[in-house]
């Protein structure tokens, strides 16, 4: 949006996303895919590309990528095969990557993104293709060590990746970020990938250029730049904002248009906040793709597609609607909850069921559970206060044992101490104040506050508010609503 509103051009963005599939083992061998293990402890002859080894496809990897493609509304090819993409790089021990070239297993899908605050119009982004391929290893170069060597860890080699390629349908950096969030949410809900960017489970490259209308009616297009090395969605947005401005500046300086130079790759430097030119990308034909003779083709029947579809569950876009209807909560609430991921929705539904009121549960989720979760960091799955405890507190507030403010304090204390609600309530000296005590307290207050009593008698009922603070000081456990009601009743009864 920023760029569009300032400059007379359209920003055109397409994305290429790689997600690591949630399998236990690699795509073509039984090595595990655990992140963060010591270097070269998850390698075998197959993923090292040693002579005589043969790849055999992981069924779960194929099924998960099928699920991703269906969720992205893709067509599924009835016949698909794998190809070798040849290039030399130290993190690629075989000298080729097993990927899919001309017959990807799925193609022509779409995913829509809607901004709940209406910052941009709903945008449907077409998917060109989704295919299944293997990851490369990791090369590390420590410049401070003063050595001339790079160190190669091949644990990641052969990890299954789903590559998702979009048409250039996005029109602003902000849209790109929002769309990526929606894609991530979808893949997490479907259990396809954990999409953890810190661990490299989701990687994004962006292609961007500008379409600039000319006075003669022609549309000038700047050379397409591919941006790499973005390690968060925020980086994607920042890199695209930067690159848009850079291309606009370059266009004004040089007037260079698409086709006047080979496609350029630029790397995002997050700390400097700039993109920098990298090597010119080898042309597609330079990869000399050919069908991998070590792998046989795969066919997919309509029945198989139907079977995968039937186990997919609700995608986030649908869940937002059904959650709002099921618990009678506003669309905004449903959006906030769904966007936090499936575990949080599960927590909410559990709480709502126990409380019996969706809106009350949703308020507690947003004002207390989510706020604490954000403050503490971490994941809802590790959140120490269970829905049962929260429902218990809400139940006591409803019964009038204490007010909502006190309830929130109890919630915070339960979270802090890890003790059960009963114990915390007892420990804080919170006990339901019985009717006799309340009566006595109110009588005392009335005796001590002739001015307030006079004001109330004179018609200013709001003056009774002054009694509540005093009541809480005398006994922090009193329910303010009850004090107010009883005090008013007693004052009215005075001669």
């Amino acid at each position: 949006m920023t760029a569009e509103s300032k400059h007379p051009f359209t920003t055109v963005i397409g994305l290429e996303v790689h997600v690591q599939l949630q399998t236990q083992t690699k795509l073509f061998c039984g090595c595990v895919t655990t992140f963060g293990s010591p270097p070269n402890t998850q390698v075998c002859p197959t993923c090292l590309g040693l002579p005589g080894s043969l790849p055999v496809m992981n069924r779960r990897a194929f099924d998960l990528s099928l699920r991703a493609a269906l969720a992205l509304n893709c067509k599924i090819a009835s016949f698909t095969k794998w190809d070798r993409k040849n290039y030399f790089y130290p993190d690629l021990p075989k000298g080729y990557q097993i990927s899919q070239f001309d017959l990807p297993f799925s193609y022509e899908g779409y995913l829509e993104v809607v901004d709940p605050k209406g910052a941009f119009e709903p945008r449907t982004v077409r998917i060109i293709r989704v295919h299944l391929e293997e990851d490369a290893g990791k090369s590390m170069h420590d410049e401070t060590a003063g050595t001339a060597d790079s160190r190669i860890d091949l644990n990641r080699t052969g990890t299954p990746l789903c590559e998702i390629v979009t048409e250039p349908d996005l029109r602003s950096p902000e849209e790109a970020r929002a769309w990526l969030n929606e894609l991530k949410l979808l893949l997490v809900y479907l259990g396809v990938s954990d999409c953890n960017m810190q661990e490299g489970s989701l990687r994004v490259d962006a292609n961007v250029n500008l379409h600039i209308p000319q006075p003669d009616g022609r549309l000038a297009k700047t050379p397409i730049v591919e941006i790499k090395n973005m390690n968060s969605f925020r980086s994607v947005e920042r890199a695209l904002v930067y690159e848009t401005e850079r291309q606009w500046g370059e266009w004004q300086d040089t007037g260079a248009e698409i086709g006047s130079m080979p496609k350029q790759t630029r790397g995002w430097d997050d700390s400097a906040g700039v993109t920098r030119g990298q090597r010119h990308k080898e042309e597609s034909s330079d990869y000399r793709y050919f069908p991998d003779p070590d792998l046989v083709p795969v066919t997919v029947s309509e029945e198989q597609v139907a079977a995968v579809r039937s186990t997919m569950g609700e995608p986030p876009a649908l869940l937002r609607k059904t959650l709002a209807e099921r618990w009678d909560i506003p669309a905004y609430d449903a959006d906030v909850l769904v966007n936090q991921g499936p575990e949080l929705v599960e927590y909410f539904e559990d709480l709502a069921k126990k409380v019996g009121e969706g809106k009350v549960a949703s308020n507690w989720m947003q004002q207390d559970v989510l706020r604490m979760l954000n403050e503490r960091g971490g994941h809802i799955a590790d959140f120490p206060v269970q829905p049962t405890a929260v429902a218990d507190i809400i139940g006591r507030v409803k019964k009038g044992d204490f007010d909502t403010g006190r309830g929130k304090e109890i919630f915070a204390a339960v979270l802090e101490t890890g003790k059960p609600v009963d114990e915390v309530v007892a420990g804080m000296g919170i006990a339901a104040v019985d009717e006799d005590d309340l009566q006595k307290l109110c009588e005392e207050l009335i005796a001590e506050n002739p001015k307030i009593v006079a004001d109330v008698k004179g018609g200013k009922e709001q003056a009774a508010g002054g009694l509540i603070g005093q009541a809480k000081r005398k006994n922090p456990n009193v329910n303010p609503g009850k004090v107010r009601a009883l005090a008013l009743e007693l004052i009215r009864a005075l001669p």
């Binding site: 039984g30 496809m57 190669i152 046989v296």
Partner: protein, 108 residues
């Protein structure tokens, strides 16, 4: 290999240089000349196939008449690191060592 009658030199020196670059091969001028001839002959030989009418022939993805070979997602033992590194010209006990790789990773 015997020269084919229709083995017109279909490759230029530049073609061979490009392929050699992609294969990371350094060729001398003499090698470049002889390889250009030899590779042209091979391409010529294979190009005889294009004389066949393949309109009604389905593209062949694999010579075996076999499909849908899968394994289950069950872990199998990996190599010990020492064994994995054993054949490497250079390693540090943990990682393979190669001449410095600068810039971003080349793949995926």
């Amino acid at each position: 290999m015997p020269a084919q009658d229709n083995a017109e030199p279909t490759l230029t020196r530049e073609d061979v240089l490009k392929v050699a670059m992609l294969a990371r091969l350094a060729l001398s001028d003499a090698e470049l000349s002889s390889l250009t001839d030899e590779l042209s002959q091979i391409v010529g030989l294979v190009s005889q196939l294009s004389e066949l009418n393949t309109d009604d022939v389905e593209p062949l993805a694999h010579p075996l008449d076999s499909q849908n070979v899968f394994r289950e997602d069950n872990p199998a033992p990996s190599l010990k690191t020492a064994d994995a590194l054993r054949c490497a010209p250079r390693h540090d006990g943990e990682c393979f060592l190669v001449p410095a790789v600068l810039g971003e990773s080349g793949s995926a």
